[in-house]
């Protein structure tokens, strides 16, 4: 009898816990796991939302469409016998996105760390300054700021007015010039360093002041202290910021969409990966292809995250004061 009641108790405890977990579990199964498997399957088809009945299995066709141009192909024969054209803009969208991620994320983190160190001194009004520096992050993701950014970097926009006032001439339209347009978006991203700054600031506060005092007694200068104390002790925080910002940057969409007017900008110079995916899936109804693109994005992000985690063995220290 006692054993029975023990089982009933165990069962009841689990049942109660799973009641609490039900919304999340349902959400995970219906809105995450099932869609993931479904999109993996769609990625091997030519699924078109407007005519789902004519969906055909095309094997690796979508993946060949993505990477065919790398091997100099312009068209290829799918497993259905149909001749498919490769996506000439896919590699462009990859290079745009990689440039964006690998330039904006490091710059953003360097800025965030530099400002956080400035604010980590015993100054009056730090919480006010912190608030002011966070405002661009608070608003930067909005459509309003994207619209504003277009205005600022146009031929006759605010930036050129200011540059003109201090003597520059022959200024380009930064937004519509394919050489510069991506960098206006990078600037917009770097401008929003507020979250990383707050996280760095919290991390810096954890470093005991005695370490720096001991280091100055030993004759280490500020630069030496930065590389021997600040960086190693902050390395877990740096890694965290790096991973989160990298994942976010690969998925950037709104600002490029607004500034490019719903397209990839002049000569596709701001054709972000997710923007290209959206255009393929929702403008051209190539939803099988869009699914394949999404899976490749997942693999890219997963791969880079894995590299950061594996490499962390060499550059992230978790022991205090070592």
């Amino acid at each position: 009898m006692r054993k029975m009641s023990g089982i009933i108790k165990l069962f009841r405890r689990n049942a109660v816990a799973y009641v609490f977990l039900t919304p999340w579990l349902l959400g995970f199964l219906v809105l995450t796991l099932y869609p993931m498997l479904y999109s993996l399957r769609l990625s091997f088809t030519d699924y078109d939302f407007t005519k789902p009945d004519s969906t055909q299995w095309i094997g690796l066709g979508n993946y060949q469409k993505m990477f065919g141009s790398v091997f100099g192909q312009s068209e290829f024969t799918a497993s259905t016998g149909e001749v498919m054209r490769v996506d000439r803009y896919y590699t462009k969208s990859l290079s745009v996105t990689f440039t964006y991620v690998f330039v904006s994320v490091p710059l953003k983190l360097i800025f965030a760390l530099a400002v956080a160190m400035l604010m980590n001194q015993k100054l009056r009004g730090v919480s006010f300054y912190r608030a002011v520096y966070y405002i661009p992050t608070l608003l930067g993701g909005s459509v309003a700021i994207a619209v504003l950014w277009r205005k600022l970097f146009e031929k006759d926009g605010l930036v050129n007015e200011l540059l003109g006032a201090i003597g520059f001439t022959d200024l380009p339209s930064w937004i519509t010039n394919p050489e510069y347009s991506l960098y206006t978006l990078i600037l917009l991203t770097v401008w929003q360093f507020g979250s990383s700054m707050i996280i760095f600031l919290a991390g810096l506060k954890q470093i005991p002041q005695e370490y720096y005092e001991a280091a100055s007694v030993d004759g280490a200068n500020k630069v030496r202290q930065f590389f021997s104390i600040t960086i190693p002790l902050l390395s877990p925080v740096i890694m965290f910021n790096l991973v989160m910002q990298m994942i976010g940057a690969f998925q950037a969409f709104t600002q490029a969409y607004i500034i490019g007017g719903g397209r990839g900008g002049v000569l596709n110079s701001t054709l972000f990966y997710t923007l290209h995916l959206y255009i393929q899936g929702w403008t051209y109804h190539e939803m099988g292809y869009a699914s394949a693109m999404a899976w490749v994005l997942l693999l890219i992000i997963g791969g880079i995250t894995a590299i950061i985690f594996i490499s962390s063995k060499w550059w992230v220290s978790y022991g205090a004061g070592e």
Binding site: Q251, T254, M287, L298
Partner: protein, 281 residues
């Protein structure tokens, strides 16, 4: 204090203030320019307008395709309110289970939840779209709001788990001894104690839903269902041309007012939210 320290601190202050002004300048310029006559926005980089007008607010408020910004604001507030309710209920329930209850498979499900934190939403995009279509939900707010009731924002589950774990267990144990069941402990002890984290959750749910553009672009198809962020996009034509800059800047300015108010009234919750979970942005 030594003279050298005073000088160093003054210089640091000066540097922080100048850099801060440069950072804020674009936003300040947008707000000021929204009160300038349309033909002067282009030629005037200064912050003090030579002429002040409310004309931009009047022409901008007219909105798009016969729907005014009044309606867009109402739509945005409705979606945000529902999203907040959904996230508060579902994320708190899941977080309580992960943080305090013992059950078979807890470690496994927790790992799954953490993995979804890093999952790019695009891999679920097309099937979700198909799914919502079979429900007949396209064009309505349901595809945006309903997932919130199923705790799909793992960020908040994580935030709340962290917070609930940090609470002292004694109160819950005392309540249990006094005959309070699991649901009673959850409602009467955990929820009141976790209220700072709930405010953070509500706050960021509001901001992200307010600023969300992608889902609104996908699912809101009729102009009378548009949110503010979706409607602002209509100021920019398909080729990138803008006909009414004044209106765009005026409505853009109005659209950032709620975020400003929340930020300055609830600042400590921002810092808490960002530093405990490293909220993106």
């Amino acid at each position: 204090m030594k003279t050298s320290t005073v000088i160093r601190h003054t210089l640091t202050h000066l540097f922080i203030i100048v850099l801060g002004l440069i950072m804020i300048y674009p936003i300040a310029w947008m707000i000021v320019s929204s009160f300038k006559p349309n033909n002067m926005i282009f030629s005037d980089p200064g912050l003090i307008p030579k002429a002040v007008t409310t004309e931009n607010y009047i022409t901008g408020w007219d909105g798009y395709a016969g729907t005014s910004f009044g309606k867009f604001f109402k739509n945005s507030f409705t979606i945000c309110a529902l999203a907040i309710v959904g996230n508060l209920i579902s994320c708190t329930m899941a977080a309580y289970a992960f943080a305090r209850l013992k059950f078979v498979g807890r470690g496994f499900w927790f790992a799954v939840m953490m993995a979804t934190l890093m999952l790019p939403g695009h891999v679920t995009l097309v099937p979700r779209y198909i799914l919502f279509n079979t429900f007949g939900w396209l064009g309505s707010i349901l595809p945006i709001v309903a997932p919130k009731f199923l705790a799909t924002d793992a960020f908040f589950v994580f935030l709340l788990v962290q917070f609930i774990r940090s609470l002292p267990k004694e109160l819950e144990e005392a309540a249990t001894i006094d005959g309070c069941g699991t649901f009673g402990v959850f409602l009467r002890i955990v929820i009141p104690l976790a209220s700072p984290a709930l405010v953070t959750t509500a706050l960021f749910t509001f901001l992200w839903t307010w600023d969300d553009f992608f889902n609104h672009l996908l699912y809101l198809t009729r102009p009378d269902t548009f949110t503010v962020s979706r409607a602002l996009r209509t100021f920019i034509g398909d080729a990138g041309a803008v006909s009414n800059w004044g209106g765009a800047l005026a409505m853009g300015t109005l659209s950032i007012v709620p975020a400003f108010i929340l930020f300055f009234s609830l600042q400590k919750y921002f810092v808490q939210g960002i530093s405990t979970t490293g909220i993106k942005g």
